[in-house]
Symmetry: C2
């Protein structure tokens, strides 16, 4: 019978858990199946009973991790709440995601592979792209409501995210810089919001050139 779960199920979970760890730590090519097997407390043969090849194992994991990370990015527009407040909320949510240790290691894992062999990760990367569309629909709604004046919402959305990511994503990826402190995060967000509203806010919403 099943004490808690079927053995097969438990083994499968062990494998995935171990593979995530190893792939995150060392990337695709530097991680060996023997190592994953050891970490998972599982015979190598068992891995191959669950996943036909190293590639397939990697792709399954990349896809799963990516789904898990990007599911949270819908930003409903609310005409009652001031623009600044809403933008702040969006930026904070984005920042919260970017500064997660899991996000960083996952992103690193996927991108490092995508640079060398894009086929392996094309699907996953495409998925990532879409996930940043949340801001765009918010911008469209705010524009329709007359609070913003944006001719190209996609460009505007990317600009807004770029103002955050340049401090809270790329340095952590390439430079192994630590995530910015809470106070620095506030500054980054404030500045991004001001820049955005200074440029795209309708006349009434623009004010204070605080930096």
């Amino acid at each position: 019978m099943c004490a808690e779960k079927k053995l097969t199920e438990r083994k499968r979970e062990n494998i995935i858990e171990a593979a995530v760890m190893e792939f995150r730590a060392s990337g695709f090519s530097a991680t060996s199946m023997d190592r994953i097997a050891a970490t998972a407390n599982v015979s190598k043969r068992t891995i191959y009973n669950h996943f036909a090849s190293k590639q397939i194992l990697f792709q399954s994991i990349a896809q799963a991790l990516c789904d898990q990370l990007t599911q949270v990015s819908e930003y409903p527009y609310d005409p009652e709440i001031p623009l600044r407040t809403q933008l702040h909320a969006i930026a904070e949510q984005e920042m919260a995601m970017l500064t997660t240790a899991e996000f960083i290691s996952t992103f690193k894992m996927i991108t490092s592979e995508s640079l060398v062999s894009p086929e392996l990760t094309r699907a996953t990367i495409d998925n990532f792209q879409e996930s940043s569309l949340g801001v765009v629909t918010w911008i469209k709604q705010a524009t329709k409501d007359g609070k913003l004046s944006v001719s190209d919402p996609i460009r505007a959305g990317k600009q807004f995210l770029a103002l955050i990511e340049t401090f809270a994503l790329w340095p952590q990826l390439y430079d192994f810089k630590p995530v910015p402190k809470k106070s620095a995060q506030k500054t980054i967000i404030n500045s991004a919001v001001e820049m955005f509203i200074n440029t795209y806010g309708s006349k009434t919403s623009r004010k204070k050139t605080s930096q």
Copy 2:
């Protein structure tokens, strides 16, 4: 005697040229010394006579390429010329660099390695960082001249570059997107300049909310 150049010299150049090609195309670990030797029309042994190991070969090349790419980024401030014009020039120069095929493949080569084994490329990456300091000194000078009002020039500089790179660097790296067309480049630059001046320009220089 020397017909045109000493043999050793020619061989060395062949090796470097071939290695650059191969590393750019496939990255560090996926490139073999045998392959480089073949491409260079050189015996593998000869490579080892010039470079003690694959690592050393890679690092030499990475360093050289990086120096070559980043040497051009000083932007002298001129109080006589309108801010917008100067900023445009800076952006265009930056854009010109980013859209070079050599730049993209070099950057890809270095970053893909840096994600997996930072030691190999730390020096090179650091170098890259510095190269983006050109704008910062320009911003400082414009601020001193009273034309800009910037409390944190480094942040402002990074923001300005981010507004360009988000369209003309990251998509090419991760997505294999083609470099933006000339017309798109103009739009990107215009928008970045406007955003920057809207936010940091002294009262007099701010105008037109063009998008």
